[in-house]
Amino acid sequence: EPEVTQTPSHQVTQMGQEVILRCVPISNHLYFYWYRQILGQKVEFLVSFYNNEISEKSEIFDDQFSVERPDGSNFTLKIRSTKLEDSAMYFCASSGQGARGETQYFGPGTRLLVL
């Protein structure tokens, strides 16, 4: 069964460094998402992406964050200058047509630790 994959599974970085988290959505899906989950807290929406542009973003997704679909398969989240509070599990998700209520398929996550 097709699945969303994410790399790396774990990333440790120093505060102020840039990180890029990578995702390969399910191949025929058109809508892509990034969510994050700080340890012990709820899953929080960051951004959604469709047709090579951001379609929604939350207040968390500030100028330090950016997303890109550099080729036909990858979807990336860049954090320009990491802060301690960026430490979290980051989940990529995709859905087929982006219809309201459509299932979102989540990847296994990247655990980011900022020191």
Partner: protein, 114 residues
């Protein structure tokens, strides 16, 4: 702003019993509600969707109800098994009239003992 509350952080039940989890929301009228399962260190996995014009939805041992007057959804697992032990998340659309992004409740961690 929208708020989702899953009333119990943890629920412990015996194998074979029915688990009932609650999701309450305030400050908007979502067109649908979803339930996800999350295992430790893993991403959420979709279980069920119920739309605002549906009162109840079933899938195998799972049942979801949606009361738009009470602003509440109940999630039931019948004949529960130890393998059902996980955190169950309620999710609603971030914007009630548009968009597809989800907001999640904090989840209820279910433990089923044999």
């Amino acid at each position: 702003s929208q708020k989702i509350e899953q009333n119990s952080e943890a629920l412990n039940i015996q194998e074979g019993k029915t688990a009932t989890l609650t999701c309450n929301y305030t400050n908007y009228s979502p067109a649908y509600l979803q339930w996800y399962r999350q295992d430790p260190g893993r991403g959420p996995v979709f279980l069920l969707l119920i739309r605002e014009n549906e009162k109840e939805k079933r899938k195998e041992r799972l049942k979801v109800t949606f009361d738009t007057t009470l602003k509440q959804s109940l999630f039931h697992i019948t004949a529960s098994q130890p393998a059902d032990s996980a955190t169950y998340l309620c999710a609603l659309p971030r914007l009630d009239q548009a968009g597809t992004a989800l907001i999640f409740g904090k989840g209820t961690t279910l433990s089923v003992s044999s």
